[in-house]
Every structure is written in structure tokens, then in C-alpha cells.
């Protein structure tokens, strides 16, 4: 069993004396990220909702990136992926990422196409 833990996060920027301390440190960070998300979600700054990056609001990009950051720390530190062999880690992480990116790409492009048809095509939607 992997009893030894790697006791640093943020690429060694934040080091801990014990595994218990690292857990509380990660909790503090996750709480902070969630709080930032909620505050942004309630106030929705006009600067972020008005700016579009790659066809999506900047605010939504921020939400998605913060979510991935949270997912990283949950799986790396709570699920101990940080302490597993890198081959196992890659097998677990990249398999879903590849499949999900593919699925999401296909579905969203198709949905956007249907949206355009409803909007500009000859299908009457405004009953």
C-alpha cells in the first residue's frame, strides 16, 4: 500500500509537514475557489459577461477552468492520484478526457447547427 505521500502542492510552492496538514490546505484552497465561483455567479461582472472568447462568455470560461482546477485537486490529493504510479494516473485521466472531448465536440457542434436552423431556417418555431 502506498503509505508515503508527496507533501507539496502548487508544484512545490506550498509544502506541508504531514498528510493531515496537506488535506486541510487543499480544503482551504477548494473552499476559496468555490467562494470565488459563487461570488462571480451572483454578481456576474459586466466585463466578464460582455467579453467573448472562442464564442463563449469569458465568465463561463472562468467557471469551467476553475471547475477543472477543483477536479484536479480532488482527484490528485483526496483520491491520492498524486501518489500512484504515473502509468495508472495517465490511464485513469486521459481515457475519459479524450472520450469526453470528442463527445462534447460532436454534440455541441450538432446542437449549434440545429439552433441555427430553428433561428434562420424555414422551420417555424414562434407558434
Amino acid at each position: 500500500m502506498a503509505h508515503e505521500h508527496k507533501l507539496e502542492i502548487f508544484r512545490g510552492l506550498w509544502k506541508f509537514k504531514s498528510n493531515t496538514q496537506k488535506i486541510w490546505g487543499v480544503l482551504a484552497f477548494l473552499t476559496l475557489v468555490t467562494a470565488v465561483e459563487v461570488v462571480l455567479g451572483i454578481y456576474k461582472p459586466a466585463v466578464l459577461t460582455g467579453t467573448y472568447v472562442l464564442g463563449m462568455k469569458l465568465l463561463n470560461w472562468i467557471f469551467i477552468i476553475l471547475t477543472l482546477v477543483k477536479a484536479y485537486y480532488i482527484s490528485w490529493d483526496f483520491m491520492h492520484l498524486r501518489d500512484e504510479k504515473s502509468a495508472l494516473r495517465r490511464a485513469i485521466v486521459w481515457t475519459p478526457i479524450f472520450l469526453v472531448l470528442y463527445l462534447v465536440f460532436i454534440l455541441l457542434v450538432e446542437a449549434n447547427y440545429i439552433f441555427e436552423i430553428y433561428k434562420d431556417g424555414f422551420v417555424k418555431w414562434n407558434f
Binding site: M1, A2, H3, N19, T20, I23, W24, V26, L27, L30, T31, T34, A35, E37, V38, G41, I42, K44, T49, N60, F63, I64, L66, T67, K70, A71, I74, S75, D77, F78, M79, H80, E84, K85, A87, L88, A91, I92, T95, P96, L99, V100, L103, V104, L107, L108, E110, A111, N112, I114, F115, Y118, K119, N126, F127
Partner: protein, 324 residues
């Protein structure tokens, strides 16, 4: 068999005790399950994204749907879901602390951390049940047009939602109960609402301060409020009153929103529930000293993986359902 063994371990590869990738059999199988479950949830969320992109301009705004906090009146968007998220992260922390205590063979610490985890999970499931109940009951009520669009009522000046009960007139009318002998026998009677469409329409005409909010989202990302004249002509299409949400009607807007809400948070809630049950089983095993006798607490680690996964999924559900 000796020709198939390529590891440095001198044991028989099929006799057990062999640990590919340095992880035990049980943990590897848990990871197999979690990856496939992650793909299932991804499928649901991708389907949600599909429907949302398809109806991009009419999709409900989550901030306007989930505005309630138990025991408090008023408009508090996001607050309660944020609380639920924190509860789940917190129970993830107590779980990982239990795993850590298990590595150090501290039985009592494992018991208390597992207990805290179970309590956290129970609070989360309870909160989700409350959220469902609130969503199903609805708050202001709306009318549905013949084409299936939802029209909500707002104060024309402030833009605040107005409940049907605040303006609908009471018009006495005869109601004929639908029975097999006076109607089509295989049709049910349908749900009775607090007001008839006629009562709502007459009440709307009598209150000049009211206007109608449509499902359409404008450039600023807000729902379009019609002028008084447009509202009156739109209301002529009204076909029925909708209070609350179910799989067929949804007073908050697109019915697909309600369908996905029930489906995705329901599936996640089911995971939390089963997680609590599995945690309870392991909890009792810890109390009985099963793992103390076995010499290691790996079972706690394995249910811990499942529990963290439930938290991980919620992080994504939270983002795609409530934030984005």
C-alpha cells in the same frame, strides 16, 4: 505458467498477490468502475449541453430558478447550492482524514471521521430532496401557450415576478368531472390548478401594472419583458396554467431543463445515497474491528475513492447546472 510472469515478483501471476501498477486488485477495480461511471455522467452532461445549445436563446437562467433557502424568505440565488457544495467537499475531507487515520491504524479516529462523513452525506441528500420539493412545488406560477412556451408575470416597473394568486380574479365556473361515461374513457382528468386560464387573463387585464416575461434571452443575457400591448396579444394564446415543474410542464421555462434537472441531480443524488449506505456498512465493520483484525484499512480507502468521486461529479454538476 512460469513463462507468462514478467514481473520481478516471484509469485504465480494468477495466484493473487501480484500488483500491476503498484495498486491492489480492489483499488484497480474501483478505478475501473469510477472511470466508466465518469463516462456515464459525462454522457448526461453532454446531452444537457446539446439541449441547451439547441435552445440557447430560450434556456432558463439558473439564478432565477434556484433562489430559495430553507427557513428564509426572499431571493437568494446560489446561496443554498453553494452551501451544499461546501458540505460535500467537507465530507470529502473527513473521508480522506479517515483514510489517513486508517493508514496509521488509529481505529477510533477512523470511526469518528467515517461518522462525520456519513452525517455530511445525509445532510447533502436531505438538501437535495428539499431542493427537488421546492422546484416541483414552484413559486409564482405561469401560463403555457398553445405552442408550449411559458409566459411569466412581472411588475412592469420593477421587473419582479408576481405570483398568480396576487392578481388572478375569482370567476365562479361550473366544472364537469371527467369520468369514463362522459368523456373519452382512456383520457385522464389532468391536474387541477389553483386558477383557470380565464381567471388569470381577466386578472391580468384588470391590473395595468403587470407585464409578461417571455423565455427569450436578450443581448444582455436577461429574459425579455414585453410591453403591455404585446403582453395582452401574447396572452390570447394561453392554453393552461402551470404551477411548479414536472417532466411535462415547467413554470420556469423549457421543460427539458426540468427533465435534465431531475435526471442528472437525481442520478447524482442516487450516487450520494448509495455512497452513504456503503459508508455505513464500512463504518460498522470498522466499529466491529474487522479491519483491525485484517491488519489494514484498505476497504476504507476504496469506499473513500467512491465518495470522492461523488464529490468530483458534483463539482461538475454545480458548474454546468447552476453557474454557466
Amino acid at each position: 505458467m512460469d513463462t507468462t510472469v514478467t514481473t520481478e515478483i516471484k509469485e504465480n501471476a494468477w495466484g493473487g498477490g501480484n500488483r500491476p501498477l503498484g495498486a491492489s486488485y480492489g483499488k484497480l477495480m474501483m478505478w475501473f468502475f469510477l472511470v466508466s461511471d465518469a463516462l456515464t455522467f459525462s454522457g448526461f452532461l453532454a446531452a444537457y449541453g446539446f439541449s441547451r445549445f439547441k435552445f440557447m436563446e430560450t434556456w432558463p437562467i439558473a439564478d432565477e430558478v434556484f433562489t430559495h433557502v430553507p427557513f428564509f424568505h426572499g431571493n437568494y440565488p446560489m446561496i443554498y447550492v453553494a452551501f451544499m457544495t461546501f458540505i460535500l467537499i467537507m465530507s470529502s475531507v473527513t473521508m480522506v482524514l479517515a483514510v489517513d487515520a486508517g493508514h496509521k491504524m488509529k481505529k477510533n479516529a477512523v470511526i469518528w471521521y467515517m461518522f462525520a462523513t456519513i452525517i455530511g452525506g445525509a445532510i447533502f441528500v436531505g438538501s437535495q430532496a428539499w431542493e427537488w420539493a421546492t422546484f416541483i412545488r414552484g413559486d409564482y406560477g405561469a401560463v403555457e401557450t398553445k405552442g408550449g412556451r411559458i409566459l411569466q408575470f412581472v411588475d412592469a416597473e420593477t421587473g419582479n415576478r408576481v405570483a398568480l394568486a396576487d392578481f388572478a380574479k375569482t370567476i365562479p365556473s361550473e366544472r364537469v368531472a371527467h369520468k369514463e361515461n362522459n368523456g373519452i374513457w382512456f383520457y385522464g382528468e389532468g391536474t387541477r390548478t389553483s386558477f383557470t386560464v380565464n381567471e388569470v387573463i381577466e386578472g391580468f387585464k384588470a391590473n395595468p401594472s403587470l407585464a409578461i416575461k417571455t423565455e427569450t434571452i436578450n443581448e444582455e443575457g436577461e429574459k425579455v419583458v414585453l410591453s403591455r400591448q404585446e403582453s395582452l396579444s401574447k396572452l390570447a394564446d394561453a392554453s393552461q396554467v402551470v404551477e411548479g415543474a414536472n417532466l411535462i410542464h415547467n413554470e420556469y421555462g423549457s421543460r427539458l431543463f426540468a427533465d435534465f434537472f431531475f435526471f442528472i441531480t437525481g442520478f447524482h443524488g442516487f450516487h450520494v445515497f448509495s455512497g452513504v449506505v456503503i459508508n455505513l456498512i464500512i463504518f460498522f465493520n470498522v466499529v466491529l474491528g474487522t479491519y483491525e483484525r485484517r491488519g489494514h484499512y484498505e476497504m476504507v480507502e476504496k469506499v473513500g475513492l467512491y465518495w470522492h468521486f461523488v464529490d468530483l461529479v458534483w463539482v461538475f454538476v454545480f458548474t454546468f447546472f447552476y453557474l454557466v
